[in-house]
Amino acid sequence: MSDDIYREIILDHYRNPRNKGKLLDADVSIHDSNPLCGDEIDIHLKVDGEKIKDIKFEGRGCAISQASASMLTEMIMGKPLTSVKDLTKDDILENIGLLNLGPARIKCALLSLKVLKLGMVKYYADRDPDSAKKLQSDSTGM
């Protein structure tokens, strides 16, 4: 089991995270942590019209949460907001290739998605309250 989870690519993203760091002129920055284990993620977004122009993350935590965040940034960099908005849990789990995580570890894998959704809630708050509301409700229970 462990060998399936901690594949080369996960360890690589964990040890060499992509898009890690601050983003000085971010449009949105958001922070959250997993109360169950203390993993933390900050996401900084730069939005250019209708797409993600730049994204960076900061964080600390387990290989799963950090690799997942790193892989998420690669996945959505440059993507239109409309598609990013609708990302599901399964998209993320597929992206990192971990479909068999137990309920505790799945929270690690989804923390970056949760932070991303909360960031987009902030972004849409005034621009599109309906989307903000939906994203908010998506993010609860993650």
Partner: protein, 416 residues
């Protein structure tokens, strides 16, 4: 005979091992103390047993298999509770020790934040001490006032008193009212109370300790802001209470019990609290019993709360009729079974309720006697105490007959 009733009681009784017990030197147990606590079906007893035998572990914070299993089962109960009372989400369901602690949570957290000097909190004369003392403590601390809505001589709430109070332009900060009296059985017109209160912007706490176990309750339909009840009064284990709070209210409430599990991040001099509902659940929860409670909810759902209510109305009608024929009996509370739960309070001659309970016990009949944690109501009824028989799904008309027979015996012993 039972087959004709709302429930197949004979079959239900087989699920409750304790009902086979003999007491007082060989008498079959006739358990009529259900308003105090109910008996537990084997499914609940086994769920607790199974937890300790197979997957006991602390929850939420660990990765190992036992912890995952325990966490899943624990949170399943929350889902079942939310569904049972039709809450919008599990975030609105907080586990406490009992209904009492649930009401205290409201008084400490919401109360201390919102209640100011000269404010008024409205309760009623039928309240259980658990819905009086927390408000006495709060109002006396804040210099606020407590107002009681009265009852009439038949045990009905004098709703008009509350209407008049509001119409006269007087304000209330909060209304806290029992949905069903644990002494008189009275079911109060909770929907009207809530509607009237909301029109004036007053939130309502419902003490559902006696109603949730005995009839269908839908918090969204009722539109209450808070509701408290206890697992042990509805087939569940001791040590589990439930507080329902509307999410938009809960979001603004400060924490109550501080400690592990209710935090997101603790630093030396500041703390970020956890998401709902965990923010309100400090420390290791009563894991085994919360898990056991799920089996109780399943059991009640299987029967159907409509049927539970129907059975109790039937039994109460029968019992009221029988008891009222015993010479010297005074009955308290509404006489129409549709307006009340299966809780019958009475006195007989000059026999003090404790003495009556002792005599009943000799006949295997477990009833309760005393003030039933409702001394304000006792003062209103002008009695020091009453005897109380209260029913649940496993009680039968035959048991009512044994009980009434024992009443006649008591008259003989006391020579009245």
């Amino acid at each position: 005979m039972m087959q004709k009733g709302a429930l197949n009681v004979e079959k239900i009784r087989e699920d409750f091992p304790i009902l086979k017990r003999k007491v007082s030197g060989g008498k079959p147990l006739v358990y009529l103390d259900n308003a105090a606590t109910t008996q537990k079906p084997l499914a609940v007893i086994n769920a607790i047993h199974d937890y300790y035998m197979n997957y006991n572990s602390n929850i939420h914070r660990a990765v190992h298999q036992l912890a995952e299993e325990a966490t899943i089962e624990f949170e399943k109960t929350r889902e079942k509770v939310a569904e049972f009372i039709n809450a919008r989400s599990t975030e609105e369901i907080i586990f406490t020790r009992n209904a009492t602690e649930a009401i205290n949570l409201v008084a400490y957290s919401w109360g201390r934040t919102n209640v100011k000097k000269e404010d008024t909190i409205v309760i009623t004369e039928i309240e259980h001490h658990s819905n009086i003392v927390p408000w006495q403590i709060l109002t006396s601390e804040k210099g606020a006032k407590l107002k009681y809505v009265g009852i009439d001589d038949n045990g009905y709430l004098k709703l008009q008193e509350y209407v008049d109070y509001l119409d006269s332009g007087k304000k209330a900060k909060l209304v806290s009212v029992s949905h069903m009296s644990n002494v008189l059985g009275t079911i109060v017109p909770i929907n009207e109370i809530i509607k009237m209160s909301h029109e004036k912007g007053i939130p309502v706490v419902v003490d559902g300790a006696q109603s949730v176990p005995h009839m269908p309750v839908d918090v969204q339909k009722m539109d209450c802001d808070f509701m408290a009840f206890s697992a042990h009064k509805m087939l569940g284990p001791t040590g589990v209470g439930i507080l329902y709070v509307k999410k938009e209210i809960l979001e603004k409430m400060p924490p109550f019990i501080g400690g592990g599990d209710m935090i997101k991040e603790v630093h030396k001099y500041e703390t970020r609290y956890n998401d709902l509902p965990y923010k309100f659940e400090g420390g290791t929860p009563n894991i085994a019993d919360v898990i056991g409670f799920a089996a109780a909810i399943d059991y009640l759902n299987n029967i159907g709360m409509d049927k539970v209510r129907e059975h109790e109305v039937e039994l109460t009608t029968y019992a009221l009729d029988k008891i009222s024929r015993v010479r010297g009996v005074t009955l308290y509370g509404p006489r129409n079974s549709k307006d009340r739960g299966g809780v019958i309070s009475f006195n007989i001659g000059d026999i003090h309720p404790h003495d009556l309970a002792t005599i009943m016990n000799d006949h295997g009949v477990a009833i309760r006697s005393g003030h039933h944690c409702a001394q304000v109501l006792m003062e209103r009824l002008d009695v020091p105490a009453t005897s109380r028989a209260s029913f649940y799904i496993y009680n039968t008309k035959e048991e009512v007959d044994i009980f009434v027979g024992a009443l006649e015996e008591a008259r003989r012993v006391f020579k009245i």
